[in-house]
Amino acid sequence: MIYFDNSATTRPYKEVVDLVAKLSYEEFGNPASLHSFGMRAERILEQSRKQLADTIKADPEEIIFTSGGTEAVNLAIKGSAEALKRSGKHILSTPIEHPAALESLKALESIGYEVEMFSVDGKGLINIGELKEKLRKDTILVNIMMVNNETGVIQPVEEAGHIIKNNNPGTVFHVDAVQAYGKLPIDTRRLMADIMSFSAHKIHGPRGVGMMYLRHGTRIKPIMSGGGQEKQYRSGTVNVPGIAGFACAAVKKTGRMDQDNRTIKRVRERLISELKKRMPDRIRINSPEDGLPGILSVSFSSVKSEVILHALELSEIYVSSGSACSAKKNSISHVIKAMNIPAPWSDGTIRFSFSGENNEEEAKTCAKTLEDIMNTFSLKTGP
């Protein structure tokens, strides 16, 4: 099996799985319980919080645990919009966000918020000048994802943070760091984000665990009613084993970030060079060279992406497609569309996403298989 779908999810580290299993069975206390067994769980929770906070140079008090990246993004966007509704209704965002953000924004729009999108260039990059222009007195929230999940483009979030805070310190800046975490250094002291979102399973942690960084002094309203866990921000019994697994994965992943990135870069470059060697005219690299090495978007000219995906799976090679193969209009991803990638390229877009567990040999096999697929399945029209 060749697993090139690490932006969808990753295989959890063995030690993460072992730790989660052990804590689930042995330390099953509820950290909110008053007795000492609950306190033991609470200690594990707080230790994990500290470990995770350290990876982004944050204060443990600024970490709120959630059920995953989607919940963190929902809480960040809806929670801050609700808290700031008296200061304004204007929100800025890139159009190439994850659906968790785009759908949250749509929900806000339907209840009277004004959501304005930046434009992006052919690489999927926003323009800092445009941010400056669009920022208004009543802009309550700016939402920018650090690394795009389909192309790997890295947005200038540090610069954006400066502009926002210099012009309008009251505007909340949310950065979706789900795809960036563990792959790029993140330092909350330099990055002027007020809120950031993270997910465990993208960095070899368990599913169903995420976290939100909430800078001291930033106000949000919870979106879930309940027992008031996580300082009232996120009710629900806290998933201590999962969070400990998250911390374990985060410590390991950030610790080997450079080493993994070197491996990933070699795999990526090998795949690109093999594809260019084998079918130079039939591929188009959509990801920018200076994007995240782990995400590579490639368009193929003569076979639709879903056909490529299913053909690859027959050889146990797993990837994602940038568009669905249907007659319907909206089958091409909003990211590919926003980048104005022309047809027929846009119909044949595949996302390869790598982890430190991949190797160059896999890239070579994958390219060879793709060549066969192009030769077998490009449809030549009859008489």
């Binding site: 879903e306 056909v307 299913h310 669905a324 193969c325 319907k328 449809l379 030549k380 009859g382 008489p383």
Partner: protein
């Protein structure tokens, strides 16, 4: 310990033939098979009605009724109480049933309907109804009698024993599965074909299905979806065989060698031909398709003629005169609709021409087809076909 008893009715119209026993026996066998893992139950036939009775604690009456509703040949079912044909026992049972109903529903009006098959019973039907009605009114002073639109009806059937019940639950009707031979359904995963298969199965026919799988143009999920559709259908059809036939090679050959506007029609003919061979090997006497006149280009009368002439077996098209909305309603009733509309759209749309011929000619079709290596390709597809017992 209470006895659990279900009364199963079938339409006697089918039983006026000399082969009445065949139908009854098959129906009893099918009922036993469907209720098999629910617990100990006896299935008996008396006076043109079937009784399912169980004294098993674990026997789930609600589940049993749900399953019986999907057994072809059954007209309706009722959960009944059986008491000796003794007037005091009947009255006591009537009060018990009404008390139970009132504890669950806010009923305010009722009437009693009596059938007296045991003519030796000293009161006639209207007398029994009136008297039991009065007895109920006395026990439940808030209830009123309403003979036109009552909230519930208490049915009393006086036979060798007396049966009381308040609900007649309509069932599948049709004829018992296995009394009508066998047919082969061309199943696509859409809304129509499962409904077509169901219509024929309803007439007592054992239905098997063939599905054409075109990886990588169709996904594994599309295949799973078809298997799921077969599972839903087999709740009615007492199980079925699904033949999954690889179709990629044929589809690509047609695409490469035949004119675009004839792609679909030639592809349909290949599907029919392959289905016919499987039908032959399987003892099936007909093919079933979900076609309806004019629904899509490949279902015009001209197209149907061209498709039909690919085979010599009869092709049953039970939806031929139905509107889409009628088919949707039927699919919802069968339970296949929600699965059919799952969005695993496959890339077979790539093989559909922008402007397919709506009036294809058989002559041209045969001419275009002649460049294809039919025998070899069909043999290879059949060779690689997979059989799934659902």
């Amino acid at each position: 310990m209470t006895e659990k008893l279900i009364l199963v009715r079938y339409e006697e119209i089918f039983l006026k033939r000399s082969n009445r026993n065949v139908f009854e026996n098959r129906l009893i066998r099918n009922i036993k098979q469907r209720l098999d893992n629910l617990g100990d139950a006896r299935v008996t036939c008396s006076q043109s009605r079937i009784y399912v009775e169980s004294s098993d604690e674990d026997f789930d009456l609600v589940e049993a009724v749900d399953r019986l509703k999907k057994v072809f040949g059954i007209a309706s079912v009722s959960v009944v109480s059986r008491v000796p044909t003794d007037y005091e026992a009947i009255k006591a049972s009537a009060v018990g049933i009404v008390a139970d109903l009132l504890s669950r529903y806010g009923y305010k009006t009722f009437k009693v309907e009596t059938k007296r098959a045991d003519k030796s019973f000293p009161m006639n039907s209207p007398q029994i109804s009136a008297d039991i009605g009065a007895h109920i009114l006395k026990n439940f002073p808030r209830l009123k009698v309403d003979v036109k639109t009552p909230d519930f009806i208490l049915y009393v059937e006086v036979r060798e024993s007396t049966y009381l019940y308040s609900e007649i639950i309509p069932a599948a009707k049709g004829l018992p599965t296995g009394t009508g031979g066998r047919a082969m359904l061309l199943l696509s995963g859409g809304i129509d074909s499962p409904a077509a298969g169901w219509m024929i199965a309803k007439r007592g026919v054992e239905v098997d299905a063939v599905y054409f799988h075109s990886p990588p143009y169709t996904s594994e999920r599309a295949r799973e979806k078809v298997i799921r559709l077969c599972e839903i259908l087999s709740e009615w059809t007492m199980g079925m065989r699904l033949y999954v036939v690889p179709f990629t090679e044929i589809q690509m050959a047609i695409h490469q060698k035949c004119p675009q506007e004839y792609l679909t029609i030639i592809m349909r003919r290949y599907m029919m031909k392959i289905a016919e061979v499987i039908a032959h090997n399987n003892g099936a006497l007909a093919l079933i398709t979900g076609e309806a006149i004019g629904q899509v280009a490949s279902q015009t009368m001209e197209s149907l003629l061209v498709t039909n002439s690919a085979v010599s077996l009869p092709v049953y098209r039970p939806l031929i005169g139905m509107d889409k909305s009628e088919v949707v309603k039927l699919a919802k009733h069968i339970g296949t609709y929600e699965t059919s509309i799952l969005p695993y759209e496959d890339c077979c749309t790539l093989f559909v021409a922008r402007h397919p011929a709506t009036r294809p000619s058989l002559e041209k079709t045969l001419d275009y087809e002649s460049v294809l290596d039919e025998e070899q390709m069909i043999a290879r597809a059949l060779d690689q076909a997979e059989t799934i017992i659902v």
